[in-house]
Symmetry: C3
Subunit: 342 residues, 3 copies
């Protein structure tokens, strides 16, 4: 796949500085690019590589234009331009439609004739699979699951019973959708299981990263709205609701019945306690801990950077005495006033 620079600029809606007939056939980073490739500058950290890049052209914002030694495509959002260019130059090649001989497909499942079912996959009774769907090797699709058109399960994905997946959804290996939520009731010291009777409903254009788990609802459904993007190893508890176009980075833990608004960004390794509400447009930086609802959009944090251990040990010991320290300050302030009044 290749494209002329002028055509690429037109497709992206970019301002071209350079030869419109220059042929581009791949994307590359600034530091590894060679002629024939288009690169991009979207993160200031990598600006240092711009003056020496060997790319044929660079997608960048006007602020960096003057430093660019090669052709350039100017866009307000160069990262978006790069994403589109990469998709253009590297179209995903899907296998021609077929059901692999080693897959097991229930005769009581409905599979569109253009769908692809990979080796060792399992499609159970009552499943419905739409047009152009790709079910990779080793996937297990349990009873009555519905998968919308052009969705893809890469490999070894598990969809439990009654899960509903929208259109153009992309689910990576090891993902489990629809496992039981953690519902237990205490009976004199022992635990009694609370049956998990809801399902999971996933909207259109959702992406779910490797080994992420999304629990089914206890009574009502767990819901991921359209355009939600979830990274690897995220845990989504039962009855969680995630609003449209919210992005959640890796290793986030979302406890049961949390409601997250639309267009939020949740940094990696964040933990959100159960039954909380998070407003639309909230940005949580990495390793945040959320123990109360957040009602206003904004940027929130609670990370603690590492220090050299011998320093940190002293500081954290004081943290464990902090209330007492604060009281001592109050006392000092009191005595200071008294003295001042002398």
């Amino acid at each position: 796949m290749s494209i002329l620079l002028g055509k690429l600029a037109e497709t992206l809606g970019a301002e071209l500085h350079g030869d419109e007939d220059c042929r581009i056939d791949r994307v590359a980073t600034l530091q590894c690019a060679s002629p024939g490739s288009v690169s991009f500058l979207a993160n200031r950290r990598y600006r240092t590589y711009l003056p020496n890049t060997r790319a044929s052209a660079v997608i960048l914002s006007s602020a960096d234009l003057s430093e660019c030694p090669v052709f350039s495509l100017v866009l307000d959002n160069p990262y978006l331009g790069y994403a589109r260019t990469a998709a253009l130059l590297s179209p995903r090649s899907l296998p021609s439609h077929s059901i692999h001989s080693s897959a097991w497909v229930s005769p009581k499942a409905i599979v569109h004739e253009t769908a692809w079912i990979g080796p060792q996959a399992v499609i159970e009774d009552g499943v419905s699979i739409g047009e152009g769907v790709y079910i990779g090797a080793g996937c297990t699709v349990d009873q009555r699951v519905v998968i919308g058109d052009y969705s893809q399960l890469t490999a070894n994905v598990t969809l439990c019973r009654n899960v509903v997946v929208g259109k153009r959804v992309l689910i990576h290996p090891g993902v489990v959708v629809g496992s039981d939520g953690f519902g237990i009731a205490n009976d004199n010291g022992a635990w009694v299981k609370v049956p998990q009777l809801g399902a999971v409903r996933i909207g259109d254009d959702v992406e779910i990263g490797a080994n992420t788990t999304v629990d089914r609802g206890a009574l009502e459904d767990t819901i991921l709205e359209n355009g939600v993007k979830i990274d690897n190893q995220v845990q989504v508890g039962h009855n969680v609701f995630i609003g449209a176009h919210t992005a959640i980075a890796g290793c986030v833990a979302i406890a049961g019945s949390v409601r997250i608004g639309k267009r939020c960004v949740v940094g990696g390794s964040t933990a959100i306690a159960g039954h909380l509400e998070i407003a639309d447009g909230v940005y949580l930086t990495g390793a945040s801990q959320v123990t109360k609802s957040i009602s206003k959009p904004g940027i929130y944090s609670s990370w603690i950077s590492v220090q050299e251990s011998f320093v940190w040990r002293k500081n954290v010991a004081r943290l464990h005495q902090l209330d007492e320290i604060a009281r001592r300050i109050k006392a000092l302030e009191g005595s200071s006033k008294v003295q001042g009044s002398c």
Copy 2:
């Protein structure tokens, strides 16, 4: 499945306020209930939905009785009552016994005639599978594993060699039990693997959530006692011991050789360092970090809630100077005393 309200009250040991002949056929949340369903009130957050519920009856504690607009079943522990009602009204339907044609079962395995082996499952040499056991699609059961009566592996579960699973154990998709622990010995800068020779022994009535991992012991076994309940994406290191009826929420990391007592509750995203002992009856709130043994029952915490980032940044910068700050207070107290003595 349906039941008369009077019969339900009797089964639960609840005090009935209402018509014993009212027919109930499902459970529902207060806000989504419609006639024919029974709801429950167990968490004060949801009290606001009680006055307008359309449920036929509500399971609640006597404190909420006066606010209930419909029939009620009064119990000290309404959540337990709900769990039992849901199980009653939604019995799990298991397939009739059979070994699926696409499964591979070693002729050297012993499988009870009432067990069910799903599509694409693998049962290796020397495995022993008890009465009424359910092995879901894509599960791999390695050599010499023993699975007790009525246990269920939902789908895509991996049990490594020599693992022993008790009765009525429920294991969700993506779980790995018996993988090697992280044993490495340093040899002049390179790592030498320490063979992991122990097994994992799981008691009766244990539940293990999706994508959780339980490592085999290095020499002795990793042990989960009866009634232990573990949520999704929990890591249990080698030689860990978890006492009976302890519940562990999602994304908890338990390092090797930790010993957790009976009837503990471990909040989600907690991390427990290696070789520690935690007494019976310890409650760790979410996102706790445990770096020393805990010898007394009680509630322990170390979470930090998010603040708006521009505020948090200043606070965490001070945290990194906290020991010095504490020293300055001490100095002030000293000078204050001196002044006081003037």
Copy 3:
């Protein structure tokens, strides 16, 4: 498998105190050992078990020699001696070479005649599998993956397209290597996927724990150098570079484009933010949060131990006011000086 104590001492390069003809056939912990077994003392916590051990011999350092009631093998690094002894006495028994009848192997894959392909495994087009490789039950090896000699995928491992695995690599169940990194570009509130076009390259002698995920690079490759050891449930983002002989404990989250040096040790539950560089020889204790690059070797920390909750709640409330508290101290210091100057 058994060995005479004299021969074992010679193999380990240990100083023997005892009968060289004593026969040893297994390793055991100090507290569970019985005659015929060799034990070890490498962690001071377990010193208390030494005087009463029933092992035939103990591997220990000279500091503990005087307390040893039985034969002893003295080494500077007893843990390494134990690792080697365990490997010697418990050689891994591999099946004789074969491709299982229920596996699916593409006719366009190259599989060495000594390789072993387990039940329900999938080997796709263009895959290359070296000498003595073990592919366990249920593994999926996607197009053009290369697996070096004597590597082992235990079971249910997913290797995505184009992944390159070195020699003697050991990958545990549920691992996903080569899933898409989390690349999304914002387009007026909705997210556009950034195609992930790089691969993952894994060196020789690497070990990867259960349910760990390693993302493919966005453009260039994600790289794990020789001798890297990774525990369970670790997330390695796209374009991460991990230097030779670095060890990473369980549940660590490494965001995209992080560069970790050689011979680092990363404690469990650590989170490392994107695009950072960590020097060679850095040791991060458990639950560290890294938000800036670390340029010097050393030990770094940011953990916070639990306290009883009623105490912690007060301390963390003060932490949220810490900047204000520090300002009040400064004010006091000012007024104190003024007073002092009176």
